[in-house]
């Protein structure tokens, strides 16, 4: 019928037009960003996080791993990649660190990039093209070298006064059970001798605002082995449903301080709520 032929012709034109033309890349760096706009260096890949960020995480991984919908909560933009990778348990395999400094074979990031047996889900980057082994070997080398923070980021953070940069859970968050781990990130390495039950405390708050008892919960605090700028509080058993507060003592004698003996200068706390699993 004529209408079918005409409609089909129109749809075919639509199909041809839909794919249009790819960009010619004029004025852009290798990440497809205007030259000089986002630090894309165009330099060869080297075994440091800044280079890995510019050449791999930003142009490839942040197509998905960015923002609120980042798969497994893993954001790989420049601001978050280090803190969410190094020394942090994988969401898919909690017994394996995403990046275990010095140990690429036991780093889940490498297993996912290589598509090793035993991973949950599929090889990354999702849908390919997968990274050449030579590229993965550079990431392996960065991990073997200790998975250090980019020097530029470290310098920026170091230039600021000692402070909390982030917490997990975030202040005001509501989480479903089980919750056994809380993280506090700082911009400087923390003096390990000052991390104890008096400077870092987990408390369960009363259910009613009318009053009640604040109960201290046993949750030993320690620095993450591979990242001295992160304190982890871990409980032996999952937290019961309720509202909790993590308090950091940043003033007074024996307050939390960085390795240069600069204290936080203020007491800090954040609260979150744990709800029962359905």
């Amino acid at each position: 019928m004529a209408w079918i032929r005409q409609t089909r012709r129109l749809a075919l034109l639509g199909l041809l037009a839909s794919a249009g033309c790819a960009g010619n890349g004029q004025g852009l760096d290798q990440n497809g960003r205007p030259v000089g706009s986002d630090g894309g260096s165009g330099a060869a890949l080297t075994a440091d996080l800044q280079s890995i960020q510019d050449n791999i995480f930003t142009p490839i991984c942040t197509r998905c791993h960015i923002g609120a919908s980042a798969p497994e909560g893993l954001r790989l933009d420049a601001a978050d990649s280090f803190d969410l990778l190094v020394g942090i348990s994988s969401a898919e395999e909690p017994n394996v660190l995403r990046v275990a400094p010095g140990d690429p074979d036991n780093s889940y990031l490498i297993r996912k990039l290589e598509g090793s047996s035993g991973i949950v889900g599929v090889q990354m980057p999702f849908g390919g093209p997968y990274l050449p082994q030579a590229t993965i070997d550079v990431i392996r080398q960065w991990i073997t070298n200790g998975a250090q923070k980019p020097q530029s980021l470290a310098a920026t953070l170091q230039s600021r006064a000692f402070a909390v940069t982030g917490t997990s859970p975030m202040d005001g968050a509501t989480l479903m059970q089980p919750v056994t781990q809380m993280l506090v990130g700082f911009n400087h390495d923390v003096d390990a001798t000052l991390v104890n039950e008096t400077t870092v405390k987990l408390e369960r708050l009363p259910e009613s605002t009318a009053g009640g008892e604040v109960i201290t919960v046993t949750a030993p605090a320690r620095l993450v082995a591979s990242n001295a700028a992160v304190i982890v509080l871990a409980t032996r058993t999952p937290l019961a449903a309720g509202t909790y507060r993590v308090s950091l003592r940043g003033t007074g004698a024996a307050a939390l301080a960085d390795t240069n003996a600069a204290s936080l200068g203020l007491d800090y706390s954040f609260a979150f709520t744990v709800t029962a699993a359905p």
Partner: protein
């Protein structure tokens, strides 16, 4: 005396007639070719995953080039009145070439999934699980309970589920799937309300907005779609807003399907506004047009053109992708797919110039 094949046909016709009022989903191009709503062939009212009894019978009688006669033994997934099971397996041989890197050729088990659906109150209340069991460890995709109204015109669903937002394609790496971040690899936990009335179909989901990960803030994700379905065409709009501490992301989509003789067309265009980029946010555009030519029973030729502008403020950065895929369904429950995908983008980025060829075995029941 009625032959086994005739009995099977009558079973199929009976199922089609008896289930036509129900809502299930189908592969989008099959839905357009048949004129059904997406929900006709899948347990999930928004499509994907386990097939309904209708979908199973369709897969045996209408889809394959040849039906192997099994007599009166017709698989409909039902273990008994209350419990149904299903599965899906995709294994491929593939070749991938990206400029500047060594080519990759490999056999790959893409996925093996098992489904189970317990209808604990017939036609009203069910519990559904979709579990990927390989490769690697087990990975839950969907797990939810659904409560239907007596008239099957609305439902409420709670648990982990795929989000309603436009065409739910099999190719999860299509630009329209990756740009919005809403696809079958990023189910989320929440609650969904569905409404179905004659040609209309609507869903709204409220979820954590963490793609299945733990909730980290008070913000929630809202995703919905409204579709009008006619036998020869359909048109829908979708919207998504993710209110998150790590900055908001919103997307709107216009999508549809059209049947012109043996060709089923699919199209979707979507605009995404993602504030989570460190440079202050980006507005993106992703489009897809796909033609599916069913040139003989069990033989489908699929041609897809895609366009992606990763930042509308930046010129010369667009990407395109062309796919040609031949799908042969020789017998019931078995599909062979062979195809090629050609990506094109800025010359500076080799990864945007991938060529990908594959032959895939797809088994499903």
């Amino acid at each position: 005396m009625i032959s086994a094949r005739s009995r099977l046909r009558w079973v199929a016709v009976g199922l089609i007639l008896s289930l036509a009022h129900q809502q299930a989903s189908a592969e989008p191009y099959l839905a357009v070719q048949t004129g059904f709503k997406c929900g006709q062939c899948h347990v999930n009212p928004t499509g994907g995953g386990m097939r309904t009894a209708f979908g199973d019978v369709f897969a045996q009688t209408m889809l394959p080039a040849k039906h192997l006669d099994t007599g009166a033994d017709t698989w409909a997934g039902e273990i008994n009145r209350f419990l149904a099971v299903g599965g899906d397996l995709r294994a491929a041989a593939q070749f991938e070439k990206t400029p500047g890197t060594a080519s990759v050729d490999e056999f790959s088990l893409e996925q093996a999934r098992v489904y189970a659906n317990a209808t604990v109150i017939p036609n009203r209340l069910s519990v559904y699980v979709d579990e990927q069991v390989a490769p690697g460890g087990a990975l839950n995709r969907e797990a939810y309970g659904t409560y239907w109204s007596a008239g099957h015109d609305w439902y409420v669903k709670g648990g982990q589920m795929y989000l309603p937002f436009g065409l739910r394609l099999q190719d999860q790496s299509a630009f329209i799937q990756t740009a919005s971040g809403i696809n079958m690899t990023t189910p989320d936990q929440g609650v969904e309300f569905g409404w179905e009335h004659r040609s209309w179909d609507a869903q709204l989901t409220v979820s954590n907005g963490t793609a299945g990960g733990p909730e980290t803030d008070h913000g929630k994700q809202y995703s919905g779609q409204l579709i009008y379905v006619e036998p020869l065409w359909r048109l829908g709009i979708g919207a998504n807003f993710n209110d998150a501490a790590a900055d908001n992301k919103s997307a709107v989509a216009l999508f549809g399907g059209l049947k012109t003789g043996p060709v089923a067309w699919l199209a979707q265009g979507e605009l995404i506004d993602d504030k989570s980029f460190p440079d202050g946010g980006r507005r993106m555009l992703a489009t897809l047009v796909e033609g599916n030519w069913l040139f003989a029973r069990g033989n489908n030729l699929k041609v897809t053109g895609e366009f992606f502008d990763p930042d509308r403020k930046v010129a010369n950065d667009a990407q395109t992708r062309w796919s040609v895929v031949y799908e042969l369904t020789p017998i019931q429950f078995v599909q062979l797919r062979a195809g090629a995908r050609f990506s094109d983008g800025i010359p500076q980025d080799d990864a945007e110039h991938e060529k990908f060829y594959f032959v895939e075995l797809h088994g499903f029941f």
